[in-house]
């Protein structure tokens, strides 16, 4: 019997039989802890293993991205606990200046197609964007992987999604994302590894793939796997300095379900406050007053996303009552904004640009929303209370940018 992408990745890293529903012991190519959860990982390690070394310091990392730099003493203390541990065990730490961990590991070539990585970030399944396996886990789990380099995992069944149609401007990969989420809902991918196929996927660059893969969590899926194309392979080869074989599904792989998503007549989409899967066309909520706009997060914080926003904002100013913020995903993206003159575009448009990180998505790096405030955000979750007391609409960078200019929700 043929194997799906995830089954093939697992089969190369376990001696257990790989079949959906079975639990296997999986060898991990890398394990990470971020500033949320990192200090607890250290506590578990010190309690259980005293000063024992970690399994392999070269495969063990910390990435700080949630509260960067720390803005309260408890966060600062927790980050310092991680730094001390990293120094003592010779473990690499990407500090508060580096950006979102799941992006940093791709940029640094720590993850390539077929790699397995786990960490304390629940959106690590974003690594499906490059055809790698990533997974968020709790503190004990991650402490265990630091020490052993392994974890147990239940092999998920695979759901095959074929997307029909193309994405032409002003549509962006986020609109495709929201369309799928609206169609299959918060449990449409529950417990599955999803695999995506179709012309639009084949043509999509790394940034778009990251956008798409980042919302597997909101669909309930274990991961969304995108078969690597030439661009992805070239990128990962260059970043890692290694030759790379893509892991692709066998022709006779077995899928629990086949799903077709038709985006032929897709319009720019938004999801309404409270639930990421409560998706409507942006035109349907046109005119809703907007107080703040956030461009960034692991879903839409790449250069390509911010270029879309900049191309709309160039030479204009956001509406006088709108507070707009840009948070690049990583230091590298920040550097690109600088070199390409886009910081200038944002500055002239009246936008705050902050240092890289999770920004408006996690705990208030760039402020929270107040009661009654309406925010348009390019992040991936809009649960009540997550980003403050206000109401958050999720959208792609094009919808967010035209809405920032108009001061109300607008469809590009």
């Amino acid at each position: 019997m043929g194997q799906t992408i995830i089954e093939k990745i697992f089969a190369a890293r376990t001696s257990d039989p790989v079949e959906p529903g079975r639990i296997i012991w999986l060898e991990l190519d890398a394990r990470t802890a971020r500033d949320f959860g990192g200090a607890n990982v250290v506590k578990h390690l010190e309690r259980e293993y005293a000063d024992d070394p970690v399994a392999d310091p070269a495969k063990t990392f910390f990435t700080f991205d949630c509260v960067v730099p720390a803005n309260t003493i408890p966060y600062a203390n927790n980050q310092q606990i991680c730094r001390d541990f990293a120094r003592k065990h010779d473990v690499r730490l990407y500090d508060v200046d580096m950006g979102i961990g799941s992006h940093v590991v791709i940029e640094k070539g720590l993850v390539v197609p077929g790699t397995t990585l786990v960490g304390t970030d629940s959106h690590l399944n974003i690594l499906g964007a490059v055809g790698a396996f990533g997974q968020g886990m709790g503190d004990q789990d991650i402490a265990f992987t630091f020490k052993t380099g392994k974890t147990w995992f239940e092999v998920p069944p695979t759901l095959r999604v074929t997307v029909k149609g193309r994405l032409e401007p002003p549509l962006t990969p986020k609109d495709l994302n929201l369309a799928i989420l609206g169609q299959i809902g918060s449990t449409g991918g529950l417990g599955y590894s999803m695999e995506f196929y179709g012309e639009v996927i084949e043509e999509m660059g790394i940034a778009g793939r990251i956008t798409l893969a980042s919302q597997a969590t909101e669909m309930g899926a274990v991961i969304a796997m995108l078969p690597p194309n030439r661009d992805v392979l070239d990128y990962c080869r260059e970043r890692s300095g290694r030759e790379i074989e893509p892991i692709l599904a066998d022709d006779n792989a077995e899928y629990v379900k086949n799903l077709e998503i038709d985006i032929t007549n897709l319009k720019p989409m938004v999801s309404r406050p409270g639930a990421p899967h409560d998706v409507v066309e942006a035109g349907a909520v046109k005119g809703v007053r907007v107080d703040s706009v956030f461009f960034g997060s692991c879903t839409n914080g790449r250069l390509e996303d911010l270029e879309v926003a900049a191309s709309i904002l160039r030479g204009k100013r956001v509406a006088p009552h709108v507070m707009a913020k840009v948070v690049p995903a990583t230091r590298e993206v920040y550097g690109d904004l600088l070199k390409k003159g886009l910081l200038d575009v944002f500055y002239e448009a009246g936008v705050i640009v902050s240092n890289p990180g999770c920004g408006g998505c996690a705990s208030g790096q760039i402020g929270m929303t107040g009661k009654g405030e309406v925010q348009v955000s390019t992040s991936n979750r809009n649960f009540r209370g997550k980003q403050g007391a206000g109401d958050t609409y999720l959208a792609g960078p094009a919808v967010a940018a035209v809405s920032a200019l108009a001061g109300e929700i607008t469809s590009p």
Binding site: S122, G136, M137, G138, Q140, D141, F144, V222
Partner: protein, 179 residues
């Protein structure tokens, strides 16, 4: 093997005031983030369901050995361990739900707390499980019985889950097994 693989106890069925099963109970409803600074397990129990409408008095009513039954996607949300430990603290002997949030499920298994998924136990069984009744659950076969009557079949413990449960937690399991 020294821990019981048959667990019997009085059940608490998570329903709303209209008797509908409660789904999507997230970790903030189970254990609110206001109490995250607490690290002593004994203190955690009193906050269980402190943020779940109609269930705030659960800690004062539940007894040692009781079984909790919930709907789908129990424990979605954050990865906080306290959302598992608060039930350990109260002496809950088993947690059954139609399904669990992935990280929640791993946290419970890794800390040796018995949880078992039983799809359809509240939504599809004809309402036969009521708080206060006693059930018996076989962790090895997944069978759930009420007296002589088999009421549902859960997904039995996997080998790994049973191993961790018997060892106490993931760390002790790894010390005594080749992993």
């Amino acid at each position: 093997m020294n821990k019981p693989t048959m667990i019997s106890g009085r059940v608490w069925v998570l329903r709303d005031s209209d008797g509908r099963p409660l789904d999507d109970i997230d970790t903030d409803m189970i254990y609110h983030n206001a109490h995250l600074a607490i690290t002593d397990l004994r203190e955690m129990g009193q906050y269980a369901f402190g943020n779940l409408e109609g269930w705030q008095d659960f800690p004062s009513r539940v007894g040692t050995g009781d079984i909790l039954i919930a709907g789908g996607n129990f424990g979605s949300g954050s990865s906080r361990q306290q959302a598992v430990d608060c039930f350990v603290s109260l002496g809950v002997s088993l947690l059954i739900a139609e399904s669990f949030g992935a990280i929640y499920r791993r946290n419970a298994i890794n800390s040796g707390f018995p949880i078992i998924a039983c799809p359809g136990i509240l939504h599809e069984s004809k309402g036969q499980l009521v708080s206060g009744e006693t059930v018996e659950v076989d962790l090895e076969t997944g069978e759930i019985r009420k007296g002589e009557e088999a009421v549902a079949r859960a997904r039995p413990f996997s080998e790994v889950q049973m191993g961790i449960y018997q060892a106490g937690d993931l760390f002790s399991y790894a010390r005594s097994h080749e992993v």
